[in-house]
């Protein structure tokens, strides 16, 4: 243990603890902009400067470790001047267009300028030139970038994709797409982790709310909205006072905004399990005919990753579409027919925790129902909340409403799609049933749950054999798994992959909170919803059963194959 004092208080922490970590534990706030624990401790913003007795210069708290006998102060006149000056310098290269910035209110720079009482700027403001490109779901505004390098580090260390890099030299040093490429020409999966870790509005997910609102304004269109599982575990963080709200209020709010039908992606998650579970059993019982392992295909970030990084593994992917795309295809076929309306006049909006879903919905092969896009526009959880706010819709004041029927029902097995391990858990529950004709204990597969980034387990399915499964989240972890699979170091039958750490709960479209990773908490909420569900098996979803009886016939058969499966094309 190392003994030292901070602001006169004696403290004792293990060797290697940074001044910032100690201060955080002691409840002494030290401002910081670039710091991201374990990922970006590069002392770039110089906001966390502290004074240490015996040293003339100020020291950065984020990467200076405490030493025996250190006398640390965090609010001397010298520090005050340094923080104010450095923040003003940073602001002199930042386009402070807070009134129209999407991150206003969740911007760390704005918050800090406010906290440090900066209301006057002596330096002329000269932001970097912008070259905004709206063709991709991830948008960068250079004029707002404070060069904290978090995006570079998150993409390098968490996702291992190396899309962002330092560009230029000298005082013109900035961040840009690596190797002087354009974002659209890279292997970017559009996972959005760079966005949720950006302290300002420099990196954002393209705002498509206007397209949804235009559809609502068109009386000829029947508007349908689907809500992804993980959205319900996070949307309320930025609504009202942030306390949890039931999903019924979310449904009511979307109704208030004016959608004709508010449906649940849980429905198509159950449908996905029917298809993917059947597909797995079909492959597993004819092992020699297929290449192993089989991978899940519901995460578009992961599917995009396979296409660019491991194209040789494309046919290992389940051919089942993601729940979002299954929903769109069913809405513009089965449901339109049921209503007796022209599918071209059906407009499908998705509310997703994800930015990659935008890219997925734009893929040319995702037009199976009537030739139009199966999903017309994808909004993130954040966009949805902004839509509520701009419409004066106050969800917490609304009466709860149920999802509309028939595409509005979902089981406990569906809601856990939003948490890492959930797809695997749900698929195993139904695969077990499909193989044995009996339901397993719904918690029989709990070994696939948890927060470890890479988990593995074996399960016996009577009559089918032992299934070796793995679950991984985060693309850097995924690459490690793929290398292990490729070298033969590990051997699995079925693998669930989610591009974002913690799965969709931690997706790039979820509410942004500085300095905390919310995926595990949100995932916990989803597991609780599952435990409290009346039905916990996808194959028991009555509306899904009805869909098969009335329309699709059986999983993997012709109609299902046409609407619900896809060939993954590069």
């Amino acid at each position: 243990m190392v003994n030292f004092t901070m602001n006169g208080r004696a403290m004792s922490y293990p060797k290697g603890t940074t001044i910032l970590e100690a201060a955080q534990q002691e409840g002494i706030p030290i401002p910081h902009l670039c710091y991201l624990k374990g990922i970006n401790e590069i002392a770039a913003c110089r906001m966390c400067m502290v004074e240490v007795e015996g040293t003339d210069r100020l020291l950065p708290a984020c990467n200076t470790t405490v030493l025996e006998g250190m006398v640390i102060r965090t609010n001397t006149p010298k520090i005050r001047l340094a923080r104010r000056t450095n923040l003003r310098l940073i602001l002199s290269q930042h386009k402070s267009s807070c009134t129209t910035c999407v991150r206003s209110g969740s911007c760390q720079l704005q918050q800090m300028a406010h906290d440090l009482n900066i209301h006057y700027q002596p330096y002329p403001v000269q932001p970097e030139r912008d070259k905004v490109d709206l063709t991709t779901p991830i948008v960068r505004e250079a004029s707002k970038c404070i060069k904290c390098m978090r995006c570079v580090q998150v993409c390098d260390k968490i996702q291992g994709m190396h899309i962002w890099d330092v560009a230029g030299t000298g005082s013109r040093t900035t961040v840009d797409v690596s190797y002087n490429r354009l974002l659209q020409n890279t292997d970017c999966t559009f996972c959005g982790q760079c966005v949720t870790h950006c302290p300002t509005g420099a990196l954002t997910v393209r705002d498509d709310t206007l397209r949804a609102l235009n559809a609502l304004a068109n009386p000829e269109l029947t508007t349908i909205v689907q809500v992804a599982p993980a959205v319900r575990a996070a949307w309320d963080e930025s609504v009202g006072n942030g306390s949890p709200l039931p999903v019924g209020k979310l449904v009511a709010a979307l109704k208030q905004v004016g959608f004709d039908y508010v449906f649940d992606t849980n429905f198509s998650a159950d449908l996905t399990i029917m298809e993917e579970g059947s597909e797995f059993l079909q492959r597993f019982t004819r092992k020699g005919k297929y290449r192993w392992p089989m991978f899940t295909s519901c995460c578009p970030g992961w599917v995009s990753f396979v296409k660019s990084q491991y194209p040789a593994y494309l046919d290992h992917l389940s051919t089942a579409k993601s729940p979002q795309q299954m929903f769109g295809a069913v809405a513009k076929s089965y449901f339109a027919e049921k209503l007796g309306i022209d599918p071209h006049k059906v407009f499908v909006v998705s509310i997703m925790p994800c930015s990659a879903k935008k890219a997925e919905s734009e893929l040319p092969e995702m037009r199976d129902a009537c030739g139009d896009r199966d999903v017309d526009v994808v909004l993130t959880t954040r966009e949805m909340v902004r839509m509520f706010r701009s419409d004066g819709v106050v969800p917490e004041e609304l009466e709860e409403m149920p999802f509309d029927s028939p595409l509005g029902s979902g089981t406990g097995a569906a809601v856990i799609f939003g948490a890492t391990g959930g797809v695997m858990d749900a698929a195993l529950r139904s695969a077990y049933f499909l193989a044995t004709g009996e339901n397993p204990d719904p918690d029989a597969f709990r070994a696939v749950r948890g927060t470890q980034p890479w988990r593995e387990a074996d399960f016996d399915i009577p009559g089918a054999g032992t299934v070796r499964v793995a679950v991984v989240s985060g693309l850097a972890n995924t690459r490690r798994l793929m290398e292990a699979v490729d070298s033969g170091e590990v051997d699995y039958d079925f693998v669930e992959v989610m591009a974002c750490p913690g799965g969709c709960s931690g997706g790039g479209g979820q509410p942004i909170h500085e300095g905390v990773e919310m995926a595990a908490d949100r995932g916990g909420r989803l597991w609780q919803l599952d435990a409290a569900s009346r039905i916990r098996y996808s194959h028991e979803n009555p509306d899904v059963q009805e869909l098969y009886q009335a329309y699709l016939k059986r999983p993997l058969e012709e109609k299902a194959h046409h609407l619900l499966h896809t060939e993954h094309k590069i």
Binding site: R57, V166, G168, G170
Partner: protein
Amino acid sequence: MSRLEVKTPGKAQAVVEQLYRNMERRIAASPPGLCPVDMALSFLQLCQAQTCGKCAPCRIGLGQLANMMEEVLDGEPGIGILRRIEHTAQVIADTADCAIGIDAANLVLMGLKGFRDDYEEHILHHRCLGSLRNPVPCVALCPAGVDIPGYIALVNEGRCDDAVRLIRKDNPFPVACAYICEHPCEARCRRNMVDDAVNIRGLKRYAVDHAEDVPQPQPAAPTGRRVAVIGGGPGGLSAAYYLALMGHSVTVYEKQKHLGGMMRYGIPSYRLPRQKLDEEIASILSLGIQVRTGVDVGTDITFEELKRDYDSLYLSIGAQTDKKTGIEGEDSPGVISAVELLRHIGDDELPDFSGQNVAVIGGGNVAMDVTRSAIRLGAAKVTCVYRRRQEDMTAQPEEVEGAIAEGAEILTLQAPLRVEVGEDGRAAALWTQPQIIGEVDTQGRPRPNTASAEPVRIPADVVIVAIGQGIESMGFEQAGVKIQRGGKLMANSSTQLPDMQGVFAGGDCVTGPATVIRAIAAGKAAAANIDEYLGFRHEIHAEVKVPAPRCADPRPRGRVEPTERDAGERKNDFLCIECPMTGEEAAQESSRCLRCDHFGYGNFKGGRIEKW
């Protein structure tokens, strides 16, 4: 007002003079990879401040050039601006009244030609081609990429054994390099910006002098693969070392009686004590490397046989033959090559030059080595003859100064003409033609030209030719190895030979005569690539944790320079010249390191490469 006054600089001027010196050092410490347009603009702004303001093109034009370059960097203008910049600069060069304007405009014109791509990228794509790939200057400039801030921090904590372990991760010759490395690492040391480069080699010497006998790490499990290394110099032994660590079975073939290559047969023992070299080689061989000395590949065993018997070969035959001047009388007795002399000394066969006049031809490090060796062999007078000026010598300045201190004459601007042969048929004198220094060549070195003066006679019983070495590549050429101009073996940057599976080459025999550390770096690269060729991917790492940096103290402080033994005493023996740093000096010098592995870019990217 007096009629004349004594000039005394004012306080402001004195400070500005100090700033000039600071800026010179700062430019020397420029990291590689900076945007050339941005740098050119900065230089131009300096020129702009220097203008006297009298003539219009310089006073106004330099400012306008700067404005236009600023626009380029901001990505504002169209491509046509390059013509405007060029025309403006050309007019300034043609019409400014003095060198301040002319040279400044030429600087811009040079850049327009030299890095036009960078200009265009800024204009057309608003992007920059510059990028800082390696932020730690010393590590970036060390050919072997040794973790310099790491071992300096260890020396600072008194952990010399760990320092040796850490160095060995990238360089199996910490001792040899501690004594004789040319230390390219120091050239752009960021400490230059504060005061002066850290004495990196001196600290390494402190580490190796104070380390106990550090055992080598345990090699990886045997792979059953066999590799032959041809040439047991620093490069060959480095390759052998890492390959052995990776678990391969290695045999080194050496033509001479002993291992060490130029470390034994080139570098005199007063710079690298023989015993230290022998111990270091023994330590490397302790990994179980087989050695066959006195075996000439091509005579005693054929290249084909080696190719057949081993899974992979590394050619590191060095550059061991001497070059001839071609002057009359060069074949006379009494005329010897530096290579030959140093080889005899390396095998402990010391010639006696007592009472003789010795003339050395050449101006490189080898010329200095033979000059200083000749003094130690008892010569009455040693004259080093060089056709350019002393500042043009390629030898390290401290070598030249050391030779002068030991009594050598440095006779510059004299080109050798012929060797005069006495009645006994032996060399009697060296005739030289005086030179006048002339125009600067494309490499920036002024050329010597024949001066209008009579030839000079330098009495010489012994003439030593030290004008460079060649490569004995004939035998390999016959065996099918591709050879480039100058006898160099053709190998790509990954040391692989074209069209010859499994055969690798590196060091002097590929680059021409260079340095020990470059040969080591080639050996290291070859080991990695041979390992991969054999189907493995062994990792080399050191189990040493580098201490966390303490708050760097950037107050200017002098650099600790090594002292040398008294010249009058040291010139009589072959014992080590250089005196080691004291503990006190090493503590102070190591605390000067700015820890670029952590501070600055280092803690963001590239600060530490823990394994390879």
